[in-house]
């Protein structure tokens, strides 16, 4: 449905639509700022994020001139922790999405192109994976590791992120597989690999990129959720989620611990989603595939 139009879309019109879209400018601006904070955190942060300034006098200070976002219960500067947390949260999300998008795209393309038993197996696995909320799956799996590192966490997040993309790319591939020019390429003796990489993937890549952009937001939310449950990024490494976790027991008095990291997540995820939507609109202005690519109900509950 609609795949043919995607196959024949013109790249210049896509670029034009993107450039003229206000959402894109806004989203790129926000993401740029967030990325700058992440990259230059050591220079921007007023304090060492681990430094306990004075555990018996400077703990839990409300926002002030010296500490614009206050201090936490260990007398550490929240602004500094938030900046370093940006690094952790953003890196985890971007790496996880890159890995899962690559893997999901490859698998989806292969399954769709090869078909048969391979396709059946991959799709049954995806079905099974969809039948448990990712958060529950992750909690069970994380229980296996006592103290998992940020790297392992990233791999795990990547491991639960590829289902949607592979399903999507498979659908695109199925549609393109029998398109005239692909059939022609095959008839001319192109190898399966060549057809896949030269004809199938380039056409499926658009929706994969849209889906990946949208899932950056989802992964940030998922990481924050896990950290909030105390099983994501482990303290004292700051991440947005575990700063909120630290504040969640102090809602009534140390509210700034909960509020600011939450706003950081909200703004970043919003920018990712806005960008993803703009991309989708640009690639498929008539939206023939209504929200097919992002899980409309967040399955992490």
């Amino acid at each position: 449905m609609g795949a043919a139009s995607i196959g024949h879309r013109s790249d210049s019109s896509v670029r034009g639509r993107l450039v003229s879209d206000g959402r894109v400018r806004l989203a790129l601006g926000v993401l740029g700022c967030v990325a700058l904070v992440a990259i230059f955190a050591p220079m921007l942060a007023p304090y060492d994020p681990r430094l306990q300034l004075d555990i018996s006098h400077l703990q839990s200070q409300p926002p002030s001139f010296a500490h614009p976002l206050g201090t936490d219960t260990f007398s550490r500067d929240v602004l500094s922790r938030l900046m370093y947390g940006t690094r952790v949260s953003l890196t985890v999300a971007l790496v996880a999405v890159f890995l899962s998008a690559t893997f999901g795209t490859m698998l989806g393309a292969i399954a769709g192109y090869v078909g048969g038993a391979v396709d059946a197996i991959v799709m049954r696995v995806v079905d099974a994976a969809f039948s448990i909320p990712a958060i529950l799956l992750l909690i069970v799996v994380i229980a296996l590791w006592g103290n998992l590192s940020v790297v392992t966490l990233t791999l795990l997040l990547a491991g639960v992120g590829w289902f949607t993309i592979s399903r999507l790319v498979r659908a695109e591939t199925l549609a393109i597989r029998d398109a005239d020019y692909v059939v022609a390429a095959r008839a001319l003796g192109a190898s399966g690999w060549r057809v896949l990489t030269r004809h199938v993937l380039p056409n499926a890549i658009g929706s994969a990129v849209v889906s990946a952009t949208l899932s950056v937001g989802n992964i940030i939310l998922l990481e924050a959720g896990l950290s909030y449950l105390g099983i994501g990024v482990r303290p004292p490494t700051p991440s947005w989620g575990n700063i909120i976790e630290e504040g969640s027991t102090r809602l009534s008095d140390v509210w700034w611990l909960t509020l600011f990291p939450g706003l950081a997540i909200l703004v970043t995820v919003f920018a990712c989603n806005a960008l993803g939507e703009a991309l989708r609109d640009a690639l498929d202005p008539r939206q023939l595939l209504p929200a097919h690519d992002d899980a409309p109900i967040r399955m992490n509950g």
């Binding site: 099974a128 039948s131 969640s248 997540i265 909200l266």
Partner: protein, 323 residues
């Protein structure tokens, strides 16, 4: 139709068995065991814990434990929860209705709001109203769910103490209230968690509904209906809406199980004693029977809902003929 149904049932059964086995194996491989968690008091010796392991057969190979579990489950015995020290069945009997109450209200409310907003948006796609609503929805869609719950708790229970900060009923006085007082007490406890769920889910539903409507609006019969002089709303109500509802039914099928696990975070923040909280705590406590049974119950729900949604779509859509 019968063949299709049989194939779908078989597939669902396969998924349930796979998922349950996966959970069983994973939780048994994880370090620690239910005895370590249940008998964690520092003055209980390791030797006594070992006796309990032997008594419950936890020192046997995982394969043997699995066979025993399958045999028990087949007989309808879900086992005994180590962390609750009660039969698993009783634990679920307490938690499931709580989750159904919260999720049921949350689902109905969020779909009602979401569908209405989606229709309002689709009426003039690209208009100021559509874009303004779209942005609000996108913000809500980007909110971390646990954070929204925390903020709502902070504002409406702590800063302005309008509602109780958690629980299902007044912990002490509930049983001594009049019937009207009981109802009011329950309602007061429901407001904040249901509100959180509704806001979070309605945003997704509305975005989905708008997309679904826009996809069917340009169709021929819609144009015909408008040409016949029907108003836009009437045309939508008579024709487009019915078609646009199909993907929403599918969405509902997806949402029911997500809610039935419990909106884990909402339950946690608002101290709602539902399935999500029970299963998450059971994982931390390595409560093997409770985790496995919980995952099984969940995957059955998921499979059943997906199946029902498919059948509902098939029933609603004349174009699909089930062979």
């Amino acid at each position: 139709m019968r063949r299709y149904l049989a194939a779908r049932l078989l597939q669902a059964l396969g998924v349930v068995i796979f998922v349950t086995t996966f959970a069983f194996v994973m939780i048994h491989l994880a370090p620690g065991d239910p005895i370590a968690a249940a008998l964690a008091r520092p003055n209980i010796t390791d030797a006594m814990r070992q006796e309990w392991r032997t008594a419950y057969g936890l020192d046997r190979p995982v394969g043997e434990q699995y066979v025993r579990w399958v045999a028990n489950t087949a007989r309808g015995n879900l086992g005994f929860s180590f962390s609750h020290r009660r039969p698993v069945r009783d634990v679920f009997a307490d938690a499931l209705p709580n989750t159904l109450l919260l999720s049921g209200l949350g689902l109905v409310l969020s779909f009602a709001i979401g569908i209405v907003v989606g229709v309002v948006q689709a009426e003039r796609p690209g208009s100021g109203r559509d874009r303004w609503l779209g942005r609000v929805l996108l913000v809500l869609y980007s909110v971390p769910d646990f954070w929204l719950a925390l903020v709502i708790l902070m504002v409406f229970a702590y800063r302005l103490p309008l509602f109780p900060p958690g629980g299902m009923t007044d912990a002490v006085m509930y049983e001594y209230l009049s019937p009207g007082g009981k109802l009011l007490d329950r309602a007061r406890h429901l407001v904040l968690p249901v509100m959180t769920l509704a806001i979070l889910t309605a945003a997704g539903v509305a975005r989905f509904q708008r997309g679904a409507l826009l996809a069917v609006l340009p169709s021929d019969w819609m144009r015909t209906a408008l040409a016949k002089g029907l108003s836009w709303r009437a045309a939508v109500a008579r024709h487009a809406f019915r078609n646009a509802l199909l993907p929403v039914i599918t969405l509902f099928g997806l949402a029911v199980p997500a809610f039935a696990t419990g909106a884990i975070f909402v339950e946690k923040v608002f101290s709602w004693p539902g399935m999500g909280l029970v299963v998450v705590n059971a994982i931390a406590a390595r409560d093997y029977p409770l985790v496995t049974a919980g995952v099984m119950l969940l995957s059955v729900l998921v499979a059943a809902c997906a199946l029902l949604a498919d059948l509902a779509v098939a029933a609603a859509d004349p174009r699909i003929r089930l062979g």
